[in-house]
């Protein structure tokens, strides 16, 4: 391992950018701010690319770089160390690449906004933490990034902090994530207690010899479940997904970067990274797969009824993350990571395109007020089309390969089951339906908005996105090139990104991580299992499954075409037939209300009535105040002793002396 990749520079560069913009950006011009932001994130991407080029020449398949000892306590030791293997390499490229593109896009999107420098400082800060997360060599260093991206997410969701909605959405994201982090932390404590290390290599080496745990409780199962809780928080899975839709209050590039492409995939990455543990805890893995399946299905149904373009995409993100969870649960880690990658391309693009649509319409987010934009903003339309086809799973777009891979593995893997596959398939149909619904509503038909012509600033809805377009910005217009170029690049990636799986190239690339020298018994079974059967039969079956999922996507397309293009009046009539179901779905199954009643309200009321008015005011304050009052009253009485009358003092002296003498007489003199 002679080559030195200087991995530490990759996360540190954006940190420097964040510091420069954050500390002095206020005095910089917008050009300088964007130059700083772009050059540091771009440099990180370039270094990432260089690491990727150098990586094969390392030979060993992994690379470790230790900077300094962070903490040492007895045998326990954590270094500031970075670690690169195939898995972190993929994540590194996705994060820095998509991150860089979205930085470019943001220059155009945020140009008119206040706090331009603040935005870029936060974005760079996010990149620093995210890159730390994916390059970490131990759970503790990963945890720095894990918490840091949460912080960056909080700052960026609440970027327009003067709007109460945005501020509370930021708080919600932060607090819900705390629940997950709590699980993650306890898992780390358990690991320290029982294995004495948090370093990936040594930790997994000591877990390796252990066999899979049987059904029921066990150390590894509890660790895996706690890690899963952490991942659920970060990756927005049931029951902790509620923060992600609200996070759409942030600027759209943030939704694209953090809440679609990168940060929310941290949970998936963490589970894939911990695959050694999950392989040995089948019960926990089943739980992961079940949660993922449920989330995928559940979020997809919510997505159907949403009218806010970003909310649809948010639920779609949750649903796709559910797919990745499902893949991780059935030990199809490389399929999950593959979907993570393609999803980063097409979902990032979808958000950017949605941002471009909103930009064109001056902040309009409601799809009912869109329509017919196909000819007005052609670039946005075509890039969005690529992304829509990709997410719907139409071949040969990227999403088809990854989603199909997950569905196939969910069925065929030793831990898989047809239940996962069936729900996955229904979800694929729903996905295709709601994405094409979005597509048709936005770009086809007649324009339904009110801002057709010249005076948009009069109707500029302040309730939307805080998107303050200056006057004269009003007519529907295509976005500037600085926004279109990143979209175009992502569109190309959304088309071709899936082709890397040809002949299992991607899977084989990741294989050393998941099945290499560290192969777990179950993972081995997964490898050898299909080979045991007739390869031809397997292939035929796989093709059949592929055809079924393409058919599902096509049905989704057809339904969307029928309902939102051909017969736009039908949805209304359908809704009238099933009002209860429709309203339940429209209100997201009332989960927010349920949580409010179950957790938020008792917490607030309990805090106010019991802790504040009860304990704080009646016990603590009363104790402090009471002792002061008592001291004053006692002093009030006692001060009369100090009359200034010398003879009364003498009387007291005599009295005291008498008591002393009486006491001495009473005890007797020895």
């Amino acid at each position: 391992m002679t080559a030195n990749l200087h991995l530490w520079l990759i996360p540190v560069l954006p940190l420097v950018g964040a510091a420069i913009n954050g500390l002095c950006g206020k005095r910089f011009s917008r050009n300088l701010v964007s130059a700083v932001g772009l050059s540091f994130s771009g440099a990180a991407f370039a270094l990432g690319l260089w690491a990727a080029i150098e990586f094969p020449s390392l030979g060993t398949g992994l690379y470790r770089e230790s900077l300094a000892v962070w903490m040492r306590a007895g045998d326990f030791r954590v270094d500031f160390a970075f670690y690169l293997d195939q898995l972190s390499l993929v994540m590194l490229l996705v994060v820095s690449g998509v991150g860089f593109l979205i930085h470019i896009y943001s220059v155009g999107y945020m140009w008119e906004e206040g706090g331009f420098y603040r935005f870029f400082s936060y974005l760079n800060l996010f990149l620093f933490f995210m890159l730390t997360l994916v390059l970490a060599s131990s759970y503790l260093v990963m945890f720095i990034g894990w918490e840091g991206v949460g912080l960056a997410s909080y700052l960026l969701i609440g970027f327009w902090f003067t709007r109460a909605q945005a501020a509370s959405a930021g708080k919600k994201a932060f607090i819900v994530n705390r629940v997950g982090d709590f699980g993650f932390l306890i898992a780390l404590f358990l690991l320290i207690k029982h294995f004495g290390s948090l370093n990936f290599e040594s930790l997994f080496a000591s877990i390796q010899p252990l066999g899979p745990e049987t059904q029921g409780s066990g150390l590894l199962t509890s660790i895996a479940l706690l890690l899963m809780v952490g991942a659920c928080g970060k990756s927005a899975q049931i029951p902790l997904y509620v923060w992600l839709p609200d996070a759409m209050e942030g600027p759209t590039p943030v939704s694209a970067l953090i809440h679609a492409a990168t940060m929310v995939t941290a949970g998936i990455y963490m589970i894939a990274r911990s695959h050694v543990i999950f392989d040995r805890a089948p019960a926990a893995a089943t739980m992961v797969a079940t949660l993922g399946t449920l989330t995928a299905f559940f979020a997809a149904t919510i997505g159907i009824a949403q009218t806010d373009i970003k909310k649809v995409l948010a639920y779609s993100t949750i649903s796709q993350l559910g797919y990745m969870f499902m893949a991780c649960g059935v030990a199809a880690y490389s399929a999950g990571i593959f979907h993570l990658m393609t999803h980063a391309f097409f979902k990032g693009l979808l958000f950017l395109a949605a941002g471009s649509v909103m930009h064109a319409l001056g902040g309009e987010q409601d799809m009912r007020n869109m329509g017919g934009l196909r000819t007005k903003i052609p670039w946005t339309f075509w890039t969005m089309t690529a992304a829509t086809f990709a997410i719907a799973g139409i071949p040969p777009f990227a999403g088809f390969f990854s989603k199909d891979e997950i569905l196939w593995q969910a069925y065929a893997d030793s831990r898989g089951s047809w239940v996962y596959w069936l729900f996955g398939l229904i979800t694929a149909l729903l996905t295709s339906f709601y994405m094409f619904r979005l597509w048709f509503l936005t770009f086809f038909g007649e324009y339904r908005g009110s801002r057709a012509t010249a005076h948009p600033q009069l109707v500029a809805p302040t309730a939307h996105a805080g998107h303050d377009h200056p006057p004269g910005h009003g007519q529907i217009h295509e976005s500037p090139k600085v926004m279109l170029v990143p979209m175009a690049i992502l569109a190309v990636l959304s088309v071709v990104g899936g082709w890397v799986s040809y002949h299992h190239t991607f899977e084989n690339f990741l294989a050393p991580v998941f099945h290499g020298a560290t192969a777990a018994p179950l993972a081995e079974a997964h490898l050898t299992g299909p080979a045991g059967e007739s390869a031809a039969e397997e292939g035929g079956k796989e093709t059949l499954f592929m055809a079924i999922s393409v058919a599902a996507a096509a049905v989704g397309f057809f339904l969307a075409w029928l309902l939102y293009y051909r017969r736009p009046e039908w949805p209304q009539r359908i809704v009238q037939h099933i009002p209860t179901l429709y309203h339940t779905v429209l209100h997201k199954y009332y989960v927010d209300e349920l949580y409010a009643a179950l957790f938020v309200k008792p917490l607030l009321e309990g805090s106010e009535k019991l802790l504040w008015r009860g304990i704080d005011q009646n016990v603590i304050d009363a104790g402090v105040d009471g002792s002061a009052v008592a001291a004053r009253q006692v002093s009030d009485k006692m001060r009369h002793m100090q009359s200034g009358n010398v003879r009364s003092y003498a009387g007291w002296v005599a009295f005291g002396a008498a008591i002393v003498i009486a006491y001495m007489v009473w005890i007797g003199i020895p």
Partner: protein, 100 residues
């Protein structure tokens, strides 16, 4: 020989009446005399103990006390005269300049 306890009881009575006089009298001269009474009460126990144990130090101490008491009487009476001249009273309740 008169037992020691008799002397001590007498000494205690003298001291107690000195204290009582000091506390209840208003007139400075009476207070002054009460102080002398206390001193003499103490002196009595000194000499009683000295006689009892055959140790001279108690008697020597009494001389010191008498010397100090004499000096104190001289200064004290001078102060009393000065006070009477300025305030025309010997009632301590009215001599309360320091009390404020």
């Amino acid at each position: 020989m008169v037992p020691l306890s008799y002397y001590l009881v007498l000494s205690g009575i003298l001291f107690a009446s000195g204290v009582t006089g000091f506390l209840i009298k208003r007139n400075i001269i009476t207070i002054f005399m009460s102080i002398e009474l206390m001193l003499n009460g103490v002196n009595l126990s000194f000499v009683a103990f000295a006689a009892q144990w055959g140790a001279l130090s108690g008697q020597v101490f009494v001389f010191f006390v008498m010397v100090v008491a004499a000096a104190e009487a001289a200064v004290g009476l001078a102060i009393i005269i000065a006070v009477f001249r300025t305030r025309e009273t010997l009632n301590v309740d009215y001599v309360n300049l320091l009390k404020l």
